[in-house]
Symmetry: C2
Subunit: 415 residues, 2 copies
């Protein structure tokens, strides 16, 4: 019998949902007639990424070196039955987990960082630049760049940079360069600092600095989520899961994942939707960032700095300042256009989870499964627990994507 | 082809090297005629553990439930080729890694905690007690106890308890109870505190408190390393590696691991010695705790508190106070009797590694392999790097055991 951990389970093609969507996906648009943000993408992204961003092709070959690095960083990630949790909930159905925390950087972010760094090097650039809020994306970027043999520069929101010294250490350890943003390394940052030397920074400012720095130094910019190409790369999660379910002889009745920008969720759910057409699907969001239940489905800016294009998505507004919650990865104001369309069409349900329920879920999960899940993933686990508790049919198979471990975010339990 | 990650690779028997040793293993002895420490073991250990401690049987069946929990916590752990490191070192041979950091608690410690918790529950006790220094062993104990459905109480050396708030959080999150030692929960601790309320604690005091608490409350005491039974449990590492090497078609010329008490090292190396009789073997220790190169092979106390029996081993003296190094797991004054005998006979070589070399090795490893290894494991990696650099024969296959990840010990890189 083939094992669910066999490296042959790593797919050799990524899946792009765009041609399979019920309607044509509204394209990104420019909102500023003078400065084209779509033209900007042409300058800062590798050509291969641009092509993947706008393609209507369903499948893209995963370069062999990328497949090899996927194996090196812990793919395929495990799919297993959560017997401890089932028992604690007295559930007669099955709970299956796909666990992205088993990758070496501890979350799914590395799945797209690897191909983006690979294409950057293949196209002759010497390095990548990106921004990071809590630090997860910056870490994934640096590891991917080091494994590809190119440089990485990370603009980290200054207030997070100061609060999370561990992130600086780990990024430097992995060979990356990390700069608190706003910085004096860009015109944009210098200007902000000249007005306010103590500016705490924002993700929008960090994006602006990263983009400017990439343009000025002929480097490539890395996209962390929301964009189609990123969701395509993340499809490794769902494609692996599909093969693993086949090996285990399981069919899910319910799929649950958490949503920040939607790349982890889309990467998990979209490939599975091809086969499991009747499966119930829940996108778990933070109650504090209720993009689907309280947001509007409209054209809005990807980033608060309004540098990147406008896209049609559920959004709380690109100026939305969410409450400070521990699940930093879920604080994004919008969600990927493809995912937004499927929520709007009713195919995908949303579920808002408050932080106290998430903490309880994480505790139960740790004690019954032995895993400290990430606060973001805790939302998906909390939604699954809620589903089981409210579910009269006690025989369904619930498949939950746990997007990462929470060993770097233990402070959530201090309260 | 069978995958190296298949759950069928988890062995169903543990291996005990004692009957295969070149000479009979000198038994533990009592040093205090009035209080028998061997008799004490009878009271505080589960019967199954006692039997495994003194058996001359080569193989012991692993209970099915323990095999299942091994699978749940991430076994088999991966065996893979370190291509990034090979390339960085310009090495024409092969470097293979067995990576225990892939278990959910991030190190090999869980391998013995699981069976000890299991036997405790099977024999009708409601919980386990143990001590912990840096916190790794306490964490493994609590996870194992929670998965077995019993309680756990951890006496943690007070100075570490105060320095490492994360450990307290993670142990409580996993459902354990953690107490800074010396505490007022035992007579021994109360007496020490009455003399010095600010006593920082020692591992010896913590052991004394754990043993007293187990005796008083009819709980079982968990052994973290050094003892035969623990090395037997850790043989899962080497037994898995043996099968994985067979699948990969590889034969190691050199085996390298790090040594604290010797359980990780023995668990990795001993099963492989059965088949690879000519393989060179290096036990990597901290230069700051040079037990093999500067220690004496003699009867000495297992613990500084002199509660547990005396055993024949390499020792720097049970009162030895090592320099403060980041690799807390390597600060133990001695090494398991079986390992000590094989070092004394010349079968196993020792290699002392200074901390600065270890830090360099950890950095190179992170950048080339994408893994932040534990400071302890960094010693084995540094020994491997040294071996490659000094090795004129550039075709050997070097197999290194990486005992854990270092995500909880990033402060080593702050200096």
């Amino acid at each position: 019998m083939l094992s669910t951990q066999d490296s042959s389970i790593i797919p050799n093609e990524w899946y792009n949902i765009v041609p399979d969507l019920p309607k044509q996906l509204p394209p990104p648009v420019d909102r500023d007639e003078k400065k084209s943000s779509i033209q900007l993408l042409n300058q800062i992204l590798p050509k291969a990424i641009l092509k993947q961003e706008f393609t209507f092709q369903k499948y893209t070959k995963i370069p062999e070196e990328v497949q090899e690095i996927y194996a090196q960083i812990g793919r395929p990630t495990p799919l297993f039955r959560a017997k401890g949790l089932e028992k604690a909930l007295d559930y007669n159905g099955k709970i299956l987990l796909k666990y992205e925390g088993a990758t070496i950087t501890g979350s799914h972010k590395i799945n797209t960082a690897i191909p983006q760094a690979f294409y950057t090097r293949e196209e002759g650039s010497t390095g990548v630049v990106t921004e990071t809020g809590a630090g997860q994306w910056g870490t994934a970027t640096t590891v991917a760049a080091s494994l590809a043999g190119i440089t990485s520069k990370i603009f980290m929101v200054k207030i997070s940079f100061n609060q999370k010294p561990l992130r600086k250490q780990i990024i430097e350890l992995y060979g990356g360069e990390i700069v608190p943003s706003p910085s004096r390394e860009t015109k944009f940052g210098t200007e902000i600092l000249s007005r306010n030397p103590d500016h705490p920074g924002t993700l929008g400012i960090a994006i602006s600095e990263a983009v400017e720095y990439a343009l000025e130094h002929d480097l490539k910019y890395m996209l962390g989520s929301v964009f189609n190409s990123v969701l395509t790369h993340q499809s490794v999660i769902g494609l692996e899961t599909e093969k693993q379910l086949e090996i285990l002889g399981e069919e899910p009745d319910v799929l649950i994942g958490c949503v920040g920008g939607g790349s982890n969720f889309g990467g998990f759910v979209f490939p599975l939707m091809r086969k499991f057409k009747e499966t119930k699907i829940y996108a778990s969001t933070a109650s504090e960032v209720p993009k689907f239940s309280k947001g509007e489905y409209k054209y809005d800016f990807v980033d608060t700095a309004k540098i990147l294009p406008s896209i049609k998505m559920y959004s709380l507004g690109s100026d939305y300042v969410p409450e400070k919650i521990y699940a930093g990865g879920l604080r994004y104001h919008g969600a990927a256009p493809s995912l937004s369309m499927l929520v709007n069409s009713g195919r995908i349900n949303s579920s808002d989870m408050p932080e106290d329920k998430v903490i309880d879920a994480l505790k139960l999960f740790a004690r019954t499964q032995g895993i400290v899940a990430a606060p973001e993933s805790g939302h998906a686990i909390a939604t699954a627990i809620d589903y089981v508790k409210n579910n009269t049919d006690q025989k369904e198979t619930i498949l939950v994507n746990v997007s990462g471990h929470g060993l770097m975010d233990m402070s959530i339990f201090q309260r």
